[in-house]
C-alpha cells in the first residue's frame, strides 16, 4: 500500500484498494475558500406508475423492487440508538437472499450491533463506511480478523461524501417511527419515536432507492411534521417493531453528580465566560454525557441570572437543550440527531426546534453549514496530546471503540472549541505525547479542560490572556502530562501490525488524517 505523511506526521495511504484514492490531510481549511463549484451527485429520477400506496409485503419484496445487486452500497441511520433492530433485520434478509460483497454505509453503527462482524465474515459485507465502530466489531477489526477496508468519516464528512459521490448509496433502508402509505416519514411520533431523522434525510435525498421500514403506518397524510417527503421514498415495509422501545425512547440524560466531571464542567463554563463569548446572540453545542452536559447547567444558571438570550443551540440535542429552548434561553435549536427521545415533544410542538439534515449541520462543501456559525462547542475525548490533537476513535489499547461523530466538524467551525476530559481514567492518563489516532486536529482545539487544570492552545493567546485575568487555573499541557504521569506512570503504547490497515480516518474535507492499524497479535 502506497503511504505518505500528512501535515500532522501521520502515515496515511494514498489509495485504499476497492475504495479509491485519497489526499493526505494538510490543514483544517486547506480545501475551503475555493472559487466556483464542484460537480456533486445528481438527483435520482424515478418513473413509478401513480399509486395510492407504496406498502409491500416484506423486506424481501422491497429488496427485489430496489434492484439491489452484489457489490452495491446500502445505508442505514443510527437514530434509534441502541434500540435499533432494523439493521440486523435487513442484513439477515439480505444474507438469506444470498447477496455478496455489499458496501455497508450507515451513518454510524449502534453499539449493540456486533452481528455485523458475522455478516462481514460471511461475505455479505466487504466494505464498511461509518462514523464509528465499537464493541465486538471494533475488537475484531483491530485484531485484523475482518479483512475489509473501513473508512471512518465525521457526520459532516459523510454528508459531503454522499453529495460528492464518494459514497454512492444504492439502497437506503430507513427505519421510520411514523410513515404514511405514500412514504412521508418522521421520527418524532410513534412507539419508536426517536426525534430528529437528520442523517436519514441526507440518505433519502441521495440514495438511488429508498425503503422505509416502519412499525407505525399512519393514515395519509402524516401530520403535523414530515421529515422525509414521499417523493424520495420508493417502498414501505411494515414490521412489528423497529426495536427495543426502552432503548429507543430513552428519557432525558441527567446532569452528572460525579465530582470530577462537575469540576471540569464548572471550569469549562468559567473559561467560556472569561472569553467573553457568552453574550446575547451566543450559539452553543454540547454533548450529552458527563462533563459536557453538565456545562449546560452552569451556562443555564448564568444566562438566566444575566438575562442573556442566545441565538441557537445545535446538536446532538438532548432533553436539556430542549428545556433551555423552552425557557427562552435560545431563539432556536437545530437538531440533526436527538440524543434522547425526551426531545420529541419539543420537536412536535415548538416550531423553533428545527430538524436539520446532516449536510445542513456540518458538510464543509456546501454554501454554509451550521457548525460554521457556532460560537462554542464542548467536546469529549478518549485521549488528547500535547499538540492538542484529539482521539475519539481508539482506546489506549489501540482498539477501535468510538466514533468520529460531529467532533472534527464542530471543532473546526466553532469560535471556541473546548475539549473536556478527566486527566486519567482507570489509571490511564488521557494526555499523551501523541494520540493513538488523530480524529480532530489540534489546530482546531482551543482548550482542553481537565480536573487538574485548563490547558490552552498556544495558538490562542487571547484566550490565555482572558483566562489568566479571570484567575482560572491554567496549566501547561506538557507540565500537566508529567504531573498526571507521576500518579499513573506511563502506559506502554499499544503495538501495531503496521502492515495491516484496520481503518482509515477521513478529515471532514475528504483528506486522510490518520490510519488505524490492526493490533500486533
Amino acid at each position: 500500500m502506497d503511504m505518505t505523511l500528512n501535515s500532522l506526521g501521520r502515515k496515511v495511504p494514498l489509495e485504499l484498494p476497492g475504495v479509491g484514492s485519497f489526499a493526505p490531510y494538510m490543514s483544517p481549511f486547506s480545501m475551503l475558500g475555493q472559487p466556483g463549484t464542484i460537480q456533486g451527485t445528481q438527483m435520482h429520477m424515478r418513473r413509478p406508475a401513480p399509486a395510492r400506496s407504496k406498502v409491500v409485503e416484506n423486506i424481501e419484496k422491497a429488496v427485489e423492487l430496489s434492484g439491489l445487486k452484489d457489490g452495491m452500497t446500502i445505508s442505514f441511520h443510527h437514530h434509534l440508538r441502541n434500540g435499533d433492530a432494523v439493521i440486523p433485520m435487513v442484513l439477515d434478509v439480505l444474507q438469506k437472499m444470498g447477496f455478496k460483497g455489499l458496501t455497508l454505509a450507515p451513518s454510524s453503527i449502534p453499539d449493540v450491533h456486533d452481528c455485523i462482524a458475522d455478516y462481514i465474515r460471511s461475505g455479505l459485507i466487504n466494505r464498511l463506511y461509518t462514523s464509528g465502530v465499537r464493541g465486538e466489531l471494533g475488537k475484531l477489526l483491530s485484531r485484523g480478523e475482518l479483512n475489509i477496508p473501513v473508512v471512518i468519516r465525521s457526520h459532516g464528512g459523510r454528508a459531503r461524501a454522499i453529495e460528492e459521490g464518494s459514497i454512492s448509496i444504492d439502497v437506503a433502508f430507513l427505519a421510520a417511527p411514523a410513515c404514511d402509505p405514500l412514504g412521508n416519514i418522521t421520527g418524532s411520533i410513534g412507539p419508536s419515536a426517536c426525534g430528529s431523522l437528520g442523517y436519514a434525510m441526507t440518505d433519502a435525498r441521495h440514495a438511488r432507492h429508498v425503503v422505509a421500514i416502519t412499525d407505525n403506518l399512519v393514515k395519509y397524510p402524516l401530520n403535523p411534521r414530515i421529515s422525509i417527503p414521499q417523493y424520495l421514498v420508493d417502498s414501505i415495509v411494515c414490521v412489528d417493531s423497529l426495536g427495543d422501545p426502552k432503548k429507543i425512547a430513552t428519557g432525558a440524560a441527567r446532569i452528572t453528580r460525579n465530582p470530577v466531571d462537575l469540576k471540569i464542567a464548572r471550569d469549562s463554563f468559567r473559561l467560556m465566560k472569561s472569553s467573553g463569548i457568552v453574550e446575547p446572540g451566543f450559539s452553543f453545542q454540547m454533548g450529552v454525557g458527563g462533563a459536557s452536559l453538565a456545562v449546560a447547567k452552569y451556562l443555564e444558571d448564568y444566562m438566566k441570572e444575566k438575562g442573556i438570550r442566545g441565538s441557537f443551540g445545535l446538536g446532538g440535542v438532548g432533553g436539556y437543550m430542549a428545556g433551555m429552548l423552552e425557557e427562552g434561553l435560545f431563539d432556536a435549536v437545530f437538531d440533526v440527531q436527538s440524543f434522547d427521545s425526551a426531545v420529541t415533544k419539543s420537536m412536535q410542538e415548538d416550531p423553533r426546534h428545527i430538524e436539520i439534515d446532516a449536510s445542513w449541520y456540518a458538510n464543509p462543501f456546501n454554501a454554509g453549514c451550521i457548525v460554521h456559525n457556532l460560537d462554542c462547542v464542548i467536546l469529549a475525548a478518549l485521549e488528547v496530546d500535547t499538540d492538542f490533537n484529539v482521539n475519539v476513535l481508539t482506546g489506549n489499547d489501540g482498539v477501535l471503540r468510538g466514533a468520529s461523530g460531529g467532533h472534527q466538524d464542530t471543532a473546526a467551525g466553532a469560535k471556541l472549541s473546548i475539549v473536556v476530559a478527566p486527566s486519567f481514567r482507570g489509571g490511564v492518563p488521557s494526555i499523551k505525547e501523541r494520540v493513538t489516532t488523530v480524529t480532530t486536529p489540534g489546530e482546531t482545539v482551543d482548550a482542553i479542560v481537565t480536573e487538574r487544570g485548563i490547558c490552552i492552545n498556544p495558538r490562542r493567546e487571547d484566550l490565555l490572556g482572558s483566562a489568566l485575568k479571570s484567575g482560572l487555573s491554567i496549566v501547561d499541557i506538557t507540565a500537566l502530562k508529567k504531573e498526571v504521569e507521576k500518579l499513573t506512570g506511563i502506559p506502554r503504547p499499544a503495538e501495531f501490525n503496521y502492515d495491516k490497515v484496520a481503518a482509515v480516518v477521513e478529515y471532514r474535507d475528504g483528506t486522510l488524517i490518520d490510519t488505524v492499524y490492526a493490533r500486533k497479535s
Binding site: R257, P259, V260, L262, K263, E451, G471, K486, L487
Partner: protein, 294 residues
C-alpha cells in the same frame, strides 16, 4: 495560619476519590475510616489511607483522618497505623468529656515518641455528637493543647437527643451556640456538621450563612459540589473588608507609636476586634480581595 473554611469528607476506602482530593478547592479533607467504611473494609481502608498519607502529594491541602471510636476494636490499630504518617489532625468521634480526649492524647503521644515525631505534632479534632458532649464542650476543647478544633456531628447528636434533624436546624441551635462558645473560649477552631441534601444548594447556603453568623470557623462538606457554596458564605463583604483594613492599619500605627489605645472611625477598638480583623483579612486573601487602594 490559613483559614480552613471547608473540610471535605472522603471515604478512606475510595482511592478514586482520594486521588482527586486536591482538585476540588477544599481547604482541608477528612479521610474517613469510621462511618463511611464498612466493617469488612476497615483494615483495607486504614492501609490505603496510610499509603496515601506517606506517598501522595496533597499539595497545600490540610489532611485530617477520622479514626474509629475509642469504644471500637479498630481505634488502637487506626492510631498505630495513621499517627506515624503525620496527618495534620486526627478526628476523634464521640468525645463525651475531657477524659476521652486525654486518653487519645496519651496514646498519640506514645506513638509520636516511638516514631520520633515531635510530641503534639498531630492535632486532635474532637467530635461532639452527644448531648453530654455538648454539655462538656469547653472541657473537651481545653482538655489538652493537642486539641485544635471542635467539630459538631449533627446526625448522631439529634439521634442522641431523640429529635429529627431538620433543614431549618432549630433543634441544633442550642448545641451549635454552645459548641461555638466553648471553642472560642478555649481558643480553638470549630467546624459545623454536614448538609446532607447534596442537590439543595440554596438550603446549604442559608445554613452556611447562619453558622458563619454564629461564629463557626468552618463546615464539613460531603460532596465536592458543596465547597463553592460554603466558601461563598464565608466570603467577607467589601464593607467589612475595608473596615478590617482600617483596623489593622490603626493597630499597626498604635504599635509603632507605642499607644495602648486603638481608635478607628472615631471609636475605640480592643484586642478581640483586632484579632477578628486579622482573621477577616486572611479570609479575604483566599478570595483575592485587593488590599491596595484602601
Amino acid at each position: 495560619m490559613k483559614p480552613c473554611r471547608t473540610m471535605l469528607y472522603i471515604p478512606g476506602d475510595s482511592p478514586g476519590m482520594i486521588q482527586h482530593a486536591p482538585v476540588f478547592g477544599a481547604d482541608s479533607i477528612l479521610l474517613d475510616l469510621e462511618d463511611a467504611v464498612a466493617l469488612t473494609e476497615k483494615d483495607a481502608a486504614r492501609k490505603m489511607v496510610a499509603c496515601y498519607l506517606k506517598d501522595y502529594d496533597f499539595k497545600d491541602l490540610i489532611v485530617t483522618v477520622r479514626v474509629n471510636g475509642a469504644d471500637t476494636e479498630f481505634f488502637d490499630d487506626d492510631l498505630k497505623e495513621i499517627i506515624p504518617c503525620v496527618p495534620a489532625a486526627i478526628r476523634i468521634p464521640k468525645c463525651n468529656g475531657p477524659e476521652d480526649v486525654l486518653a487519645a492524647d496519651k496514646k498519640i503521644e506514645e506513638i509520636e515518641k516511638s516514631n520520633s515525631i515531635p510530641v503534639g505534632k498531630v492535632r486532635i479534632h474532637a467530635m461532639i455528637e452527644t448531648a453530654v458532649g455538648v454539655e462538656n464542650a469547653f472541657f473537651i476543647a481545653s482538655a489538652c493543647p493537642r486539641v485544635q478544633a471542635l467539630t459538631l456531628g449533627g446526625q448522631d447528636l439529634t439521634a442522641d437527643m431523640g429529635v429529627q434533624k431538620t433543614k431549618e436546624g432549630w433543634e441544633l441551635f442550642y448545641a451549635r451556640s454552645r459548641v461555638v462558645v466553648a471553642a472560642r473560649a478555649a481558643g480553638v477552631d470549630v467546624y459545623d456538621t454536614v448538609w446532607a441534601d447534596i442537590s439543595d444548594k440554596e438550603g446549604l447556603l442559608k445554613e452556611c450563612r447562619s453558622i458563619v453568623g454564629l461564629g463557626f470557623t468552618g463546615k464539613a462538606a460531603i460532596h465536592p459540589d458543596q465547597i463553592e457554596t460554603i466558601h461563598q458564605a464565608f466570603m467577607p463583604n467589601e464593607k467589612e473588608f475595608r473596615k478590617a483594613l482600617r483596623i489593622m492599619e490603626a493597630a499597626e500605627n498604635a504599635k509603632k507609636e507605642g499607644k495602648g489605645v486603638i481608635s478607628v472611625d472615631g471609636k475605640m477598638v480592643d484586642a478581640p476586634v483586632v484579632a477578628r480583623a486579622r482573621h477577616l483579612l486572611e479570609l479575604a486573601d483566599l478570595y483575592g480581595f485587593e488590599r491596595s487602594g484602601s
